[in-house]
């Protein structure tokens, strides 16, 4: 019956008419702002490892305050804000109808970003709930929840009104990401901080933080790459069936993963073992998505060098392969011994959250931005520089933190005093800062490039960006 009631699917040329371009632009402008700001706090914090006194005695600029600003700024600022903007672009295109109550999107954009700005400021002032990735004070949590819950309603109603009876995999992931995160925010922001004390609080926090990563950032990232990789590579998705196997295995296995943060803790052994098993089972969704991504690129590698969005998306996929291999093996008790509390974990979180998901969001941004401003990308060369600076930075960061982390872990296991273990790892920390700087410069160049794209005058021959759907503005400029 549902099919009978569906509106007719719009023709390819009509898809642009479904998108509210000013709304997408507003979200993406804010996303770029956070993309500049949040990683910079990470670099500032990392310099403290090599030069502990360089920020002076100010309590507002201590590591304990800079780090949560960096972590929350990247998760909720850079990644989530770009993701929301890209959702307002891709959801109407995949559903074949305009976003439900799309005017609300402007209010949500301002509410989200002002809330976030106040939240990050409050962290600098020391108003911190003490739960990693859940540090924001209650008022900020309420704002974040309101925006995500309202957007869940907007997108689900839009998807219910879709013209296409079947759901493309990006929409499966989108629905799941929003619904899971609504539930997780209720758990982590409104119940957890006010009910459970002590180690029980920490145990539940293991679930919350891993749901932020695995049931928000991961499926949201999949939404982006499953939509943007085929259209930017100009090749259909390799296998939709495989993508759904990946989706359902993520949905069924991931919820148990969070407990693996507490191996060798007082938490019951059976629960720890269960989390190890589900962590290893995550190899299934990881491999399905990777086979799909590289299969989608089949026959298109020749144009890879000039396809900037595809370069970001594929580079992110490589980081995903490495990061997820780290993540799953880290959950094994044997690997946990030399890696827990070390920089190995920081390597894993950077390779996945930044190297994969933020990079995928950047890939989507580079694809969408020329279309929403109706211009060709200002400078492909500068875009390429951004790509290589970011790639070199995250690669070096992943490598040195992995090596330094393993060295730390084995020194501790050999009985080295903690203070003595700092000396051999300090060169790794210095290299990590240089790697962070490289990424930061890359992102600054990227944002500058996109700003210049928006400010440049459209060349007459290049104008019909919105008239030709899909590949109107090929990656890195017209080909």
């Amino acid at each position: 019956m549902a099919e009978v009631l569906r509106a007719e699917r719009p023709l390819p040329g009509q898809l642009d008419e479904l998108v509210n371009f000013p709304l997408v632009r507003l979200w993406l402008y804010w996303g770029m702002f956070w993309l500049l700001l949040a990683p910079t706090f990470g670099v500032m914090a990392s310099v403290l490892f090599s030069f502990p006194d360089y920020l002076g005695p100010s309590e507002y600029l201590t590591f304990g305050r800079l780090r949560p600003v960096h972590v929350n700024g990247v998760i909720f600022g850079a990644f989530s804000t770009l993701f929301f903007g890209l959702c307002y672009y891709l959801v109407p295109r995949l559903a074949g109808v305009r976003v439900h109550a799309e005017g609300l999107g402007y209010w949500l954009a301002w509410l989200w970003n002002i809330t976030l700005a106040i939240g990050l400021l409050s962290l600098l002032l020391g108003w911190n709930q003490g739960l990693e990735a859940g540090e924001f004070p209650l008022a900020i949590d309420i704002g974040i929840f309101l925006v995500i819950a309202t957007m869940t309603w907007q997108f689900i109603v839009t998807i219910m009104r879709r013209t296409e009876p079947q759901l493309y995999v990006a929409l499966w992931y989108l629905i799941a990401a929003f619904v899971w995160t609504d539930v997780n925010l209720i758990l982590g922001s409104f119940i957890l901080p006010y009910t459970l004390p002590g180690i029980n609080n920490a145990a539940f926090h293991g679930l919350f933080i891993h749901y932020i990563v695995g049931l928000w950032i991961t499926p949201a990232g999949y939404v982006l790459i499953y939509y943007f990789l085929p259209v930017s590579a100009r090749n259909p998705l390799f296998s939709h069936k495989l993508s759904l196997i990946g989706f359902w295995s993520l949905a069924l296995f991931y919820p148990f993963v969070g407990i693996h943060h507490y191996l060798y803790s007082p938490i019951a052994d059976w629960a720890e073992t269960l989390s190890i098993i589900s962590s290893m089972l995550l190899i299934i969704p990881v491999w399905t998505v990777l086979v799909n991504f590289f299969g989608t690129m089949k026959g298109k590698w020749s144009s890879f060098g000039t396809n900037l969005p595809a370069k970001f998306l594929i580079m992110g996929s490589l980081m995903y392969l490495i990061g997820c291999f780290q993540g799953s093996t880290e959950a094994l008790r044997l690997i946990q011994q030399p890696t827990h509390f070390t920089d190995f974990v920081i390597s894993h979180s950077h390779l996945t959250v930044f190297g994969t998901f933020v990079v995928w969001a950047i890939g989507g941004l580079v694809y969408v931005w020329p279309r929403v401003v109706g211009r060709e990308l200002w400078s492909f060369k500068m875009g390429n520089w951004s790509f290589w600076l970011i790639t070199a930075g995250i690669s070096v960061m992943g490598l040195v933190l992995t090596a330094g982390g393993l060295q730390q872990g084995y020194m501790w296991m050999a009985g080295t005093e903690w203070l003595n273990s700092l000396v051999p790892v300090s060169p790794y920390w210095f290299l990590r800062t240089l790697a962070g700087l490289s990424m930061d410069i890359g992102m600054s160049l990227l944002v500058l490039n996109l700003m210049m794209t928006a400010l440049s005058r459209p060349a007459p021959a290049r104008e019909p960006a919105r008239d030709v759907p899909g590949g109107a503005v090929p990656a890195g400029g017209m080909q």
Partner: protein, 79 residues
């Protein structure tokens, strides 16, 4: 000894806002609770899956990828 972390006073007994609910739950109960939360998330996904099967979402599962792609890219063969 108490340490101040922002607006939360920490001590051996945990944040002071927990004082009212000082009743201690045994760790094993909490672990089961944690397991149940994870199970509910997975069961929610399972319900979603059953809905997908019942509503025919997985029939001719590859067709949608071509329709979604063709809606965006009509001229890839000409490249």
């Amino acid at each position: 000894m108490r340490m101040s972390a922002g607006n939360v006073a920490l001590g051996a007994g945990g944040p002071c806002r927990f004082r009212r609910a000082e009743r201690r739950l045994p760790l094993v109960e909490l672990t089961i609770g944690q397991f149940l939360v994870a199970l509910c998330m997975s069961l929610g996904a399972l319900c979603f899956f059953i809905w997908g099967v019942m509503s025919g979402m997985f029939k001719d599962v590859e067709a949608i990828k071509m329709r979604a792609y063709r809606a965006e890219v009509a001229d890839d063969d000409e490249q």
